[in-house]
C-alpha cells in the first residue's frame, strides 16, 4: 500500500456544505468497499457540533465512521493505536494547529499517525488538519501568520486558505525569504494529494481553486501555479 496524504487548503464537509467533492475524492482512495473512516477533531477541542457534522457527512451507508475524542477518552476506543491502524482513512478537522500538536504528543498520536501512514492508511484533513502533516506549517490561526513545526511526514512547508495577494500569502513569502523550507500552498477548495513524499496531483472542489509550489532562491520567491483537476462535472 502506498503512503498517501491529501492536504486540503480548506473544504470538505467542514467548509463546503452541499459540496462533497473533496470528501468523495478521499473516500475513493480507499480500496475497501465500505471504508473505515476515523475523524480526529482535536484541533477544535473535540467540539460536539463538529463531530455531529462529521457523522452527517460520512453516514454508515457509505462507510464505517468513528471518531476519537482526546478530551473524552473514557468514551472512545481504549486502544487508540489498534483503532487508528485499523482504519482506511483518518480525517483530521480544522482549528488550532498548535493545540492539535500539543494534545497529540501528550497521547502519543503523533507516532501512531506516522505508523498508520507507513502502513497505507490514507491521511487527510483541512486547515490545521492539513498543516499538521508537513515539516513547517504556516498558521494564521493565532494572529500574525507564523511557522509552526508540524509532524514532518512531508518534508515541505505548507500554507492553507491561500490567497496569493493576501496577508497570508505575503507572510508565507516573507518566511520563505527568511529561510523557511520550500513547500506548497492550497486555496480553499484545492487539495494536494501526496503519494509517498511526492506531490501526485492537485484536485479541486471548485473550478477556480488552485494549488501552488513555492521556492526561494536568495531574496527571490517563485510561485508556480500547479495544474489542478476540477472534480466536478464538465
Amino acid at each position: 500500500m502506498p503512503r498517501q496524504i491529501v492536504a486540503f487548503g480548506g473544504g470538505g464537509f467542514s467548509m463546503e456544505s452541499g459540496n462533497p467533492l473533496l470528501d468523495d475524492y478521499v473516500l475513493g482512495l480507499c480500496s475497501s468497499e465500505r471504508p473505515r473512516v476515523c475523524f480526529l477533531p482535536s484541533a477544535s477541542g473535540d467540539a460536539d457540533h463538529y463531530v455531529v457534522r462529521f457523522y452527517r457527512a460520512f453516514p454508515a451507508e457509505r462507510c464505517e465512521p468513528s471518531h476519537v475524542s482526546l478530551f473524552r477518552r473514557e468514551q472512545g476506543p481504549e486502544d487508540l493505536r489498534a483503532h487508528l491502524l485499523s482504519q482506511d482513512l483518518i480525517y483530521v478537522g480544522g482549528g488550532s494547529v498548535v493545540s492539535l500538536l500539543g494534545v497529540w504528543r501528550a497521547h502519543g498520536i503523533d507516532a501512531i499517525l506516522r505508523e498508520a501512514w507507513e502502513e497505507g492508511v490514507v491521511l487527510c484533513g483541512l486547515s490545521a488538519g492539513s498543516l499538521c502533516w508537513f515539516a513547517d506549517a504556516v498558521s494564521g490561526f493565532h494572529g500574525t501568520p507564523r511557522a509552526v513545526e508540524g509532524l514532518g511526514l512531508l518534508p515541505f512547508s505548507n500554507c492553507v486558505h491561500y490567497e496569493p495577494g493576501a496577508e497570508r500569502g505575503h507572510a508565507y513569502r516573507r518566511l520563505l525569504r527568511e529561510g523557511l523550507r520550500p513547500g506548497y500552498a492550497a486555496e480553499d477548495g484545492a487539495a494536494l494529494h501526496f503519494v509517498g513524499e511526492e506531490l501526485s496531483r492537485v484536485v479541486a472542489s471548485r473550478p477556480a481553486a488552485r494549488g501552488y509550489r513555492l521556492d526561494a532562491g536568495g531574496d527571490k520567491v517563485t510561485e508556480t501555479r500547479l495544474a489542478t483537476t476540477y472534480l466536478g462535472a464538465g
Binding site: 467540539a47 473524552r72 477518552r73 500539543g102 504528543r105 501528550a106 493565532h142
Partner: protein, 263 residues
C-alpha cells in the same frame, strides 16, 4: 509577593447555595487583589473550551460586580488575543475542569505555563477545580486516558492533590497507591471542599457543603494515612444582586416597551 491559590475538589457554576458560596469566595479573593471591579478570566482549556463551561461561568459571574472574560486557546482563530497581556491584566485566573493531560499539553504548546507562573509571582490569584486544581501541584491523579493515572503538574504548589475524593473511589484508591509508591504527600479534596494557599505555610481548608472534607494524605513506614483537616465553612450569599448597569439597561428597556417604542 506571590498570589493566593484556591484549589477545589469539584464544583459547578449553578445557582445552588454551595456553588454560590464558591463563587463568592473567588469574587472576594479577586476584589482583595483589585478593588471593587476585579477582572476574572476563565481558562477552559481542559474541557477543549466547551461552550457549556464558558456559558456557565458567565452565567455565574456575568451579573456580579466584576469583569469576566474567557481565554479559549481553541477559539483564537475567531478571536485572536494577546495571551500574556490579557492574563497579566487579571485579578483572578480560574482554570476549569476536564482532561489534565490535555490541559498541560496544550498549555505547553502555547507556553502558557510560564505566563501563569509569572501571573502568580506578580500576585494574581489563581483558582481552579478538578484538573484545574491539580495542575498547580507537583502531581495529581487524572482520568484523562480513561483509567486513573499519575500526572505531573506545574509544581507551583508542592505536594500532590487528588480531587473528587468522596465520589470517585477508583481515583482515591489510585492516589493512595501512588503516594505509597513515592508520589509526594499531599491532599484529597471532596467535591465542594477546597484549600486556600496564602503564603509559604500550610493552606486553609474551606468547605461549601456540610460534610465535604479536605484530607491530608501522608505516607509513612506503616502505610498511607488520611486525616481530615478542620475546615472553615463558606456560607452561601443571597442570589447574585443585579449589576447596576444591567439593572439600568433593563429599566430603560421596560420603559421603552411600556411607551410602545421597541426600536
Amino acid at each position: 509577593m506571590i498570589g493566593r491559590i484556591l484549589t477545589l475538589g469539584g464544583h459547578d457554576f449553578s445557582s445552588r447555595p454551595p456553588d454560590r458560596a464558591v463563587c463568592e469566595l473567588m469574587l472576594r479573593l479577586a476584589s482583595e487583589h483589585a478593588g471593587d471591579r476585579p477582572r476574572i478570566c476563565i481558562v477552559p482549556t481542559a474541557s477543549g473550551d466547551t461552550s457549556e463551561q464558558i456559558a456557565r461561568f458567565y452565567a455565574s459571574f456575568g451579573e456580579r460586580a466584576c469583569e469576566p472574560s474567557d481565554l479559549s486557546l481553541f477559539r483564537l482563530g475567531r478571536r485572536p488575543m494577546a495571551l500574556r497581556d490579557h492574563l497579566l491584566a487579571q485579578d483572578l485566573i480560574y482554570v476549569g475542569g476536564g482532561s489534565m493531560v490535555n490541559l498541560l499539553a496544550v498549555w505547553e504548546a502555547h507556553e502558557l505555563g510560564a505566563i501563569l507562573s509569572l501571573a502568580w509571582r506578580q500576585g494574581i490569584v489563581l483558582a481552579g477545580q478538578s484538573a484545574g486544581a491539580m495542575c498547580w501541584f507537583e502531581a495529581g491523579i487524572t482520568k484523562s486516558s480513561g483509567k486513573p493515572a499519575a500526572e505531573a503538574g506545574l509544581g507551583l504548589l508542592s505536594g500532590s492533590l487528588c480531587v473528587h475524593y468522596n465520589n470517585d473511589p477508583e481515583r482515591r484508591a489510585a492516589y493512595l497507591d501512588a503516594v505509597a509508591d513515592g508520589m509526594p504527600d499531599g491532599y484529597g479534596l471532596d467535591d465542594y471542599a477546597g484549600l486556600l494557599w496564602e503564603g509559604p505555610g500550610p493552606p486553609t481548608a474551606v468547605t461549601a457543603r456540610r460534610g465535604a472534607r479536605a484530607y491530608r494524605v501522608i505516607s509513612s513506614a506503616t502505610g498511607v494515612a488520611e486525616s481530615p483537616l478542620p475546615a472553615r465553612f463558606l456560607p452561601a450569599p443571597a442570589p447574585a444582586a443585579l449589576r447596576e448597569d444591567i439593572a439600568e439597561f433593563r429599566r430603560i428597556t421596560s420603559m421603552r416597551k411600556r411607551a410602545g417604542w421597541l426600536g
